[in-house]
């Protein structure tokens, strides 16, 4: 790992000033992704600014029914939070299905938003990668693509976003709150992560000098009946091949509210808006779940190694909605 200078910020104002003053500086929270990438010599910051002492560790109810989550709340603490467990169970489940107990104790909410891809060719500094070295090419194309994206890809990049938490946040219409020397900015989660296009190295709309201070969840009553289903290559401690965050409310046999998002299929958590539109107001049955899932995946483009994801994603959507339907009718 390259030598770097370290400073610890006591408050938000100091932190954002520090990063504005220093080129090639990075904030460090839990470090679970950044330290790994620094050890791999993929991230080589000159300065790391420790933000773990900032007072951003609270989970608070907002007037109007939403919840504000401090950016430094640890993944494990957020997952165990009563408010989250009862009102947004899909978020608890998403967090709990990510990484391991140890890593969840270290990883922060803000850091989880900024996780970088697990593409094998991004991690290998001998491989061409437009994300790591813009313009060098994409060696994943034609290589091992089992974990890669089927939606929103570009010729420049086919990597996926690895986060589980973000899939739930996408389904919940969360807002990312960021602070810089220019003041506060509120970014809807749908506008936070970027598809690769020509510049896969630019992964979010957060600017280099902005600090994530919080994530806000609106009041989403349907989320009380929600689930996160993650499918992977072993039973635990692996990244998703496909995951689905779903919430469903059925009134008189008709879908009266629905939220749906997918992980493991794109460079960003994929909100399945087309499927939601089809489902809402329609019959709550497996046939319509199937149609909605098929429509959402219709634009998918497969690589030789990941064609199964297109079918798998549809099956997981249908299975998860069907389970919510069964649980809803049982209740």
């Amino acid at each position: 790992m390259k030598a770097f200078s370290y400073l610890s910020a006591p408050d938000v104002a100091t932190a954002v000033r520090a990063i504005a003053d220093r080129p090639n500086a990075k904030f460090i929270g839990g470090g679970t992704n950044l330290v790994d990438l620094m050890r791999e010599e993929i991230e080589r910051p000159d300065t790391v600014i420790d933000i773990t002492r900032l007072p951003l560790t609270e989970v608070e109810e907002l007037p109007g029914g939403g919840v504000r989550i401090g950016a430094l709340v640890r993944n494990s603490h957020l997952a165990a939070n009563r408010l989250i467990r009862t009102r947004y169970p899909m978020l608890s489940q998403a967090l709990l299905s990510g990484a391991s107990g140890q890593l969840r104790n270290m990883a922060t909410v803000g850091g989880n938003l900024l996780q970088r891809t697990r593409c094998l060719y991004f991690y290998d500094d001998a491989a061409a990668c437009n994300k790591r070295e813009p313009g060098s090419g994409c060696e994943a194309v034609g290589g091992f693509t089992r974990s890669h994206a089927v939606l929103g890809t570009s010729a420049a990049c086919i990597a996926t976003h690895p986060s589980d938490m973000c899939v739930a946040l996408a389904a919940l219409d969360a807002t990312v709150v960021a602070e810089s020397v220019r003041g506060e900015r509120r970014i809807p989660i749908s506008e936070f992560h970027l598809l690769p296009g020509e510049r896969p190295d630019i992964e979010t709309t957060l600017t280099a000098d902005e600090l994530i201070t919080a994530v806000e969840l609106p009041d989403v009553p349907v989320a009380a009946t929600s689930r996160y289903r993650k499918v992977r290559d072993r039973a635990s401690y692996a990244f998703a091949l496909v995951s689905v965050a779903a919430a469903l409310e059925v009134t008189g046999g008709t879908v009266s509210a629905v939220r749906l998002a997918m992980g493991g299929v794109a460079a960003k958590p994929w909100r399945a808006r087309e499927a939601e539109r089809l489902l809402l107001g329609g019959p709550a049955d497996v046939e319509s779940f199937r149609r909605a899932a098929a429509t959402e995946l219709a634009p998918a483009v497969a690589q030789p190694g990941n064609a199964f994801k297109i079918e798998l994603a549809q099956r997981v959507i249908v299975a998860t909605l069907a389970q919510l339907l069964a649980e809803g009718s049982a209740a």
């Binding site: 094998l120 060719y121 500094d125 290589g143 692996a238 798998l312």
Partner: protein, 768 residues
């Protein structure tokens, strides 16, 4: 032969006080309190750290190396490349007459050549005062290459495979009758193709070497499966006498075959210490292990079976293709079990090889049989389906009385009993044969069986046993502890052989200053040490008895050795009320502080004679017997009908492994093999990019070994019937349980889903 036999197998187990018992490991406290120290954890004053620079082409010549940026990193002591490395001797040519020559993992003389033979070959080593500086500088070394075409695509090389040349230990091909003709004529037959991917050992301790020179004497801390090979190889490479090299290896953080050969990191750590004049530690990163330590070869296999309507096999064909590296590696005995498991009228087995520009393949837990049983035992299940016959019944109909190929006797074979007991413990009778017929809620349930088979081995071992006047015993033997619990097992054996309490025995191991032990391989270490240990204990008892017999005050005066037994901390005339006395009393009267017995010689000639003796006994033994461990694997899987996710939910394994020395550690080893077999079946694969030969998943995040959540309770048991041709009747337990495991899962998956998956690993996409 009878003479040798009795000497080497002094007694089949009497009901020993200790042998067979589930005794806690003697190193348990050290391992659970953090006191156990692994190779990268030895402090040395002035210790420097080394990091490797890996080639980024599959084959070529180094055109230029720029170390300017690397050398400028603060703390860097030196950057060693082929431009400035001192010469080392090339590895010795491989010969079965010099077993130590097998230690060379590759033929490359690292950093003494500008040639690159595989993607990841070390082309430089950076030595620095801190690990971080070494790693950072290694990333800054700029190497340019003159690239040469490299053959790296195993699947594409299939057509170029050549039959493997056989050797004394491993025939490449065998036949009985005309198997192809019998297959064509068989009323019922299957002819199937299976593939398995490359695997890596992934011992949790990455390879690490701490090396310190003192003049021309060298001390090396190294997690090794064969410290004698490490010592001999380093002595050869650096031109010093073997006795100048000491290899210390008391704890090995897992190995599974990966620490058998001498890989580049070991040599380059020693080189770095030589160049800098400082003690050097080279602890490989996980990626470094993948790039410089070989793994299991991939395979393409054909299994064809022909049978009569009653299930009697008329033809068995098993052929394989595996790979070796252009610079090293060896054939895998993929068809090994197919020579012994079924009584087919006609048999043809053949192993083929392709040579690729990749890192040498190497041994990994049950090399050959682990992947060979997958293909054979899945094919047998497929034949059973076709015959509409229970797969256990089909196996029992073809269970041979003698070795099918040549009629040799089995030293020991209780596969029938293993199946009978396993079926009962598992509840096989509750299985409904129709695929997809069993469910639990939404889960599809499948049950599968397969046979396990692994040949048993025994190697030369030098041992000394010293009995002190205080009644304590020290056993010294340079064997290896990677988790098998050897020290505990040998303390149990010694305690029973000498009639002393288990606690009175201390076992020293893992140090090349000790009498030369066997390598830890072929599941043969325990049997090998036990044979010499029992002989040494016999010699020791005779020496002690001789002291007593000469003494007028001893109740053993004049007593013949055959009439004496060791018990209660001394020697007593046979029979319950037999007179005798404690060792302490005998030694005290004779004025001795200790008595020692030795088996094997450490002199050059003695070692050579030992090796010749070992080889001739091995050959004689093999001419006479087929010796092996076997077993019956039963598993239950659950398959999610929506996603194809497979979860192993139950396991029963019953093994025929002769006498079990320690019920606790043997159970752990047997379970461990099954766990690795579950990984092999469902998730493990090393991804070698066919475009350039680079391994693309060199990490535990992307190479999926089983985690806690993947592993159900595993019920293992053994028949505990001694093998009369083995010391104490014991057969090794380290490898047999990985064999058959993947097939049992594949067969269970078929039972659950009706799908046959013939390419490992069985990932969910194959079942959707």
């Amino acid at each position: 032969m009878t003479q040798t036999q009795t000497q080497e197998s002094p007694a089949l187990p009497r009901a020993g006080r200790n042998v067979g018992k589930p005794i806690d490991r003697v190193d348990g406290k050290a391992k659970t309190t953090g006191a156990a120290r692994f190779s990268a954890e030895y402090p040395y004053p002035g210790l420097a750290h080394a990091a490797l620079v890996h080639a980024t082409v599959g084959r070529g010549r180094i055109a230029g190396i720029d170390v300017t940026a690397a050398a400028a990193v603060p703390g860097v002591l030196t950057v060693i490349t082929h431009l400035n490395a001192p010469p080392m001797k090339p590895p010795p040519p491989v010969s079965l007459l010099n077993l130590e020559s097998l230690a060379s993992a590759t033929t490359v003389n690292y950093l003494n050549t500008d040639e690159v033979h595989w993607h990841g070959q070390p082309v430089g080593v950076v030595v620095a005062a801190t690990l971080d500086a070494a790693v950072e500088a290694a990333a800054l070394v700029r190497v340019s290459y003159e690239e040469l075409p490299a053959r790296v695509d195993f699947a594409a090389a299939e057509g170029r495979a050549k039959p493997q040349k056989g050797n004394a230990l491993q025939p490449g091909e065998s036949r009985k009758g005309d198997a192809e003709a019998a297959l064509a004529a068989a009323p019922v037959s299957v002819d199937l193709r299976y593939t398995t991917p490359p695997h890596n050992h992934n011992a949790l301790e990455p390879h690490a070497t701490t090396a310190a020179w003192d003049g021309d004497r060298l001390t090396v801390h190294e997690g090794a499966q064969n410290i004698a090979w490490v010592r001999g190889h380093l002595a050869h490479k650096f031109g010093v006498p073997a006795q100048n090299v000491r290899v210390i290896s008391p704890y090995v953080g897992g190995a599974f075959g990966g620490k058998t050969m001498i890989w580049p990191g070991t040599i380059l750590a020693v080189l770095a210490a030589r160049v800098t004049g400082r003690p050097v530690r080279l602890a490989l990163t996980r990626e470094g292990v993948y790039r410089t330590v070989g793994g299991r070869t991939p395979s393409i296999q054909r299994v064809a079976l022909g049978a009569n309507e009653d299930g009697r096999l008329t033809s068995l064909i098993h052929t394989s293709i595996t790979r070796v590296g252009a610079v090293g590696g060896g054939p895998e005995q993929v068809t090994s079990q197919s020579r012994h498991l079924y009584d087919a009228e006609n048999i043809f087995v053949q192993q083929n090889l392709v040579k690729l520009d990749l890192l040498s393949n190497t041994v990994m837990r049950a090399p050959g049989e682990s992947i060979g049983t997958y293909a054979l035992e899945t094919a047998v299940d497929e034949l059973a389906s076709k015959l509409g016959m229970d797969p256990i019944e089909l196996r029992m109909r073809n269970e041979p009385e003698r070795n099918p190929l040549d009629g040799k006797r089995f030293a020991h074979r209780m596969l029938r009993e293993a199946y009978a007991r396993g079926a009962e413990r598992f509840g096989w009778a509750d299985r409904t044969p129709e695929p997809g017929s069993m469910r639990d809620g939404r889960w599809l349930i499948g049950m599968g069986v397969a046979s396990a088979y692994h040949p048993s081995w025994q190697f030369a071992a030098n041992v000394t046993v010293r009995l002190s006047a205080d009644g304590t015993v020290v056993v010294r033997c340079g064997f290896h502890e990677m988790g098998m619990g050897g020290a505990t097992a040998h303390a149990q054996i010694t305690a029973d052989a000498l009639g002393v309490p288990f606690e009175a025995v201390r076992v020293e191991y893992g140090d090349s200053d000790l009498p030369t032990g066997p390598g830890a391989g072929g599941s043969g270490q325990t049997a090998s040490v036990a044979a010499s240990l029992l002989t040494a204990c016999d010699k020791l008892k005779r020496s002690v008895l001789a002291l007593a017999r000469r003494s007028s005050g001893s109740p053993l005066r004049g007593v013949r050795p055959s009439g004496v037994e060791a018990r209660d901390g001394g020697l007593y005339q046979a029979g319950a009320a037999g007179r005798g006395e404690a060792y302490a009393a005998i030694l005290a009267r004779a004025g001795r502080t200790s008595v020692e017995a030795q088996v094997g010689s450490e002199t050059r000639m003695g070692a050579l004679a030992g090796q010749v003796r070992f080889m001739s006994k091995l050959m004689l033994d093999r001419r006479r017997w087929v010796k092996a461990a076997c077993g019956a694997q039963f598993c239950e899987v659950r398959v999610d009908p929506d996603t194809g996710e497979v979860r192993v939910s139950r396991w029963v394994g019953v093994f025929d492994v002769g006498t079990v020395i320690n019920a606790k550690t043997a159970a752990s080893q047997l379970r461990g093999g099954i766990v690795m077999g579950i990984g092999m079946a469902l998730s493990e694969a090393t991804l070698v990019d066919p475009r350039h030969g680079r391994i693309m998943n060199p990490s535990l995040a992307e190479y999926h070994v089983p985690v806690h959540a993947d592993i159900p309770p595993i019920d293992v048991s053994w028949l505990n019937e001694p093998d009369p041709t083995m010391p104490l009747g014991l057969i090794g337990v380290g490898e047999v349980s990985i064999t058959g495991a993947a097939a049992a899962i594949a067969n269970a998956v078929h039972h659950a889903t009706g799908r046959r998956v013939r390419d490992l690993p069985i990932t969910l996409d194959a079942l959707m």
